[in-house]
Amino acid sequence: MAHVGLIVNPSAGRDIRRLTGGASVVDNYAKRRVAECVLGGLTIVGDPPSVAVMPDRVGIASHAVEEAPAELDVESVDMTVEETAADTRRAAERFRDDADVVVVLGGDGTSRDVAMRVGDVPIVPVSTGTNNVVPMPVDGTVAGAAAAVVAAGLVDREAVTYRHGRIDVRADDVSGETRLSGLATVGITDRPFVGTRAIIDPSELLGGVVSRAHPSDIGLPSVAGCIEPVAPEASGGAALRLGPPDATARSVRAVLAPGVTTTIGITEHAPLDAGASATFDVVDGVIGADGEREVELADATVTMTLTDDGPRLVDVDATLEAAAEAGILIEER
């Protein structure tokens, strides 16, 4: 029997952008309902998959198990709960071994945590956070339906999934070597501390590397996308160096955060092939991955390397289209 993992990040969506930008609040009641929709969506196939849900202390998983459609075999993953991102990583590791598809409810940070541990298992990232590039703003039921179709092997997995890129970072400063990875973007800000983690002021962005780019994305991928779009499944990406708009020959109007458009000065935009690196010198700043400030640096050299070897993502539209074309969703009498 096919098996689907479900990860809901209880703490996504409560950062400072509710105060500084136009981000909306997604409370746990809403997340619970989306999780229930995902489970409902899984019943689109005749022989629905079994489901394991990451446990939490706030009742999202337990409600999902209790409210699940009768024909679904749903259980909670047996694991300790720390109420940190470690829970997501631990659940993803479990799903690496036994799931055919993992549905992830959260933001870019949650998607990244899953992606780094889930191996080649395809994921369906559904947006519940803000500043999202990777997670899709898709109805939970539709996401669940696509997950069921892929998990059951009813369509060609290779045709309806794609590999997302990844950016691997190595930073060297006085405190030693630090490594981190981003899925869509790794950026540098000149704010000295991680603080509330969200990138609040676009003028503090110094540059970075993106693995995808489109003007309809948000953050650094939006900036790069204004110059030259790169599809999520395309190889390579771009390196960007930014400056004050009045001091650079070129600037773009981009979406940096929910509710905010900004003029961003471009010092340099360089397409970057897979395997290639860009190096940045950081005097006093923070590197952030996928919209969150992560590592404080002083007098550091930061090397960002693009790879095509990121997580495998389910293309929800393509999956359901292929299912329709194959007649899977039709019942004749």
Partner: protein, 347 residues
């Protein structure tokens, strides 16, 4: 005026110094309470230092705060004098409230500290009232209420936030979620996992920050202050933190495990900020030891000051309570003065 923002190197060192001062003050308060020298109760702030300091570093010196029963940290972060504070804890007349308030009632309006409070959830109405007067008198200030996770379920807290939201007052409500209301875990008190979600009910922004990171708390309060001063109304900030000591000194703490405490101590706000300043080249181990030694000396002086101060006279028990003279109290004070209370001190 002391540079006390996280934007500058000097301000960051001052922030570290205040966090250390809170820890030393409360460590000594705990010791002298155990020795029986401090009357009443003490509720120590150890572990939560980044919340008070991050908050007050982001406020302007003229801004106003209201506090809780666990208020020593708020006082020190706001710049109150540790000698006068310690004298108050000892119940001595040189204390902030002439020794008649004690640990849970330190107030100093001149420093912008509207009062610690023995009543859970009594601070937010003070802050809303202060914000109303700021708004009415068009002053360039904000009023911030510290409150605990337990207070979030109090009726008066709802009234205070509701009114401040409805009138767009320059207020900030800062919930110190230290995981326990006395002995009750937060998940057994509330149906919400994030207390910042309550902000939605008032149609104001609510956010959750890492209360073990002074930079995170300061950044959130700074943005909330901007919003308040722009006339856009209050913000609710939840800082996730942890108290290392019991609810009160003497608390058996059988409601939590040593492992849980150790997990939080691994993320200690002082250790982490110290390390970050050293990494930035703004502090050396020697500087830190020097800072620590100076603080230990200052708190030892505060203890000595408190010990040497006198208890307030019994006939002053009702002083500073009523703005108009109350004949029965005058008569009581007179009796105490003339016969030392041997014929009964009932007012």
């Amino acid at each position: 005026m002391t540079d006390y923002t996280l934007e500058t190197e000097a301000g960051r060192r001052e922030s570290l110094r205040r966090m250390l001062t809170i820890r030393e003050f409360d460590t000594k308060a705990g010791q002298y309470f155990a020795d029986g020298e401090i009357p009443g109760f003490v509720h120590l702030y150890i572990g939560e230092e980044a919340v008070a300091v991050g908050t007050c570093a982001a406020l302007d010196p003229d801004d106003l705060i209201s506090s809780t029963h666990r208020g020593h940290g708020h006082c020190i972060a706001k710049g109150l004098d540790t000698e006068l504070m310690m004298a108050e804890l000892f119940g001595k007349e040189d204390g902030y409230c002439n020794g008649k308030g004690g640990s849970m009632h330190i107030a100093d309006v001149e420093s912008g500290m509207l009062g610690a409070n023995g009543i859970v959830g009594a601070g937010p109405p003070l802050a809303t009232g202060a914000a109303l007067s700021i708004d009415y008198q068009d002053r360039d200030q904000v009023a911030l209420a510290f409150l605990g996770d337990g207070a979030v379920a109090q009726g008066q807290v709802h009234e205070a936030i509701n009114l401040a939201s409805t009138w767009d007052l320059p207020a900030i409500f800062l919930v110190e979620n230290n995981r326990y209301g006395e002995a009750t875990p937060v998940e057994k008190q509330h149906n919400l996992s994030q207390l910042s979600d309550t902000a939605q009910a008032y149609d104001i922004p609510g956010l959750t920050v890492d209360g073990m990171d002074v930079t995170a708390v300061a950044e959130a309060v700074k943005e909330a202050r901007k919003r308040a001063r722009a006339g856009d109304g209050p913000t609710l900030i939840e800082a996730e933190t942890y108290r290392y000591r019991g609810h009160y000194e003497g608390d058996e703490q059988n409601y939590r495990t040593d492992e849980e405490l150790e997990q939080w101590q691994e993320r200690d706000a002082i250790d982490s900020f110290k390390r970050r300043l050293i990494d930035r080249g703004e502090l050396t181990e020697d500087d830190f030891e020097e800072m620590q030694a100076a603080i230990e000396e200052a708190i030892a002086d505060a203890i000595e000051y408190a010990q040497e101060s006198e208890f307030p006279a019994p006939e002053e028990a009702y002083d500073d309570m009523f703005s108009e003279s109350v004949p029965e109290i005058e008569a009581f004070a007179e009796r105490i003065r003339t016969d030392g209370g041997s014929n009964g001190g009932d007012a």
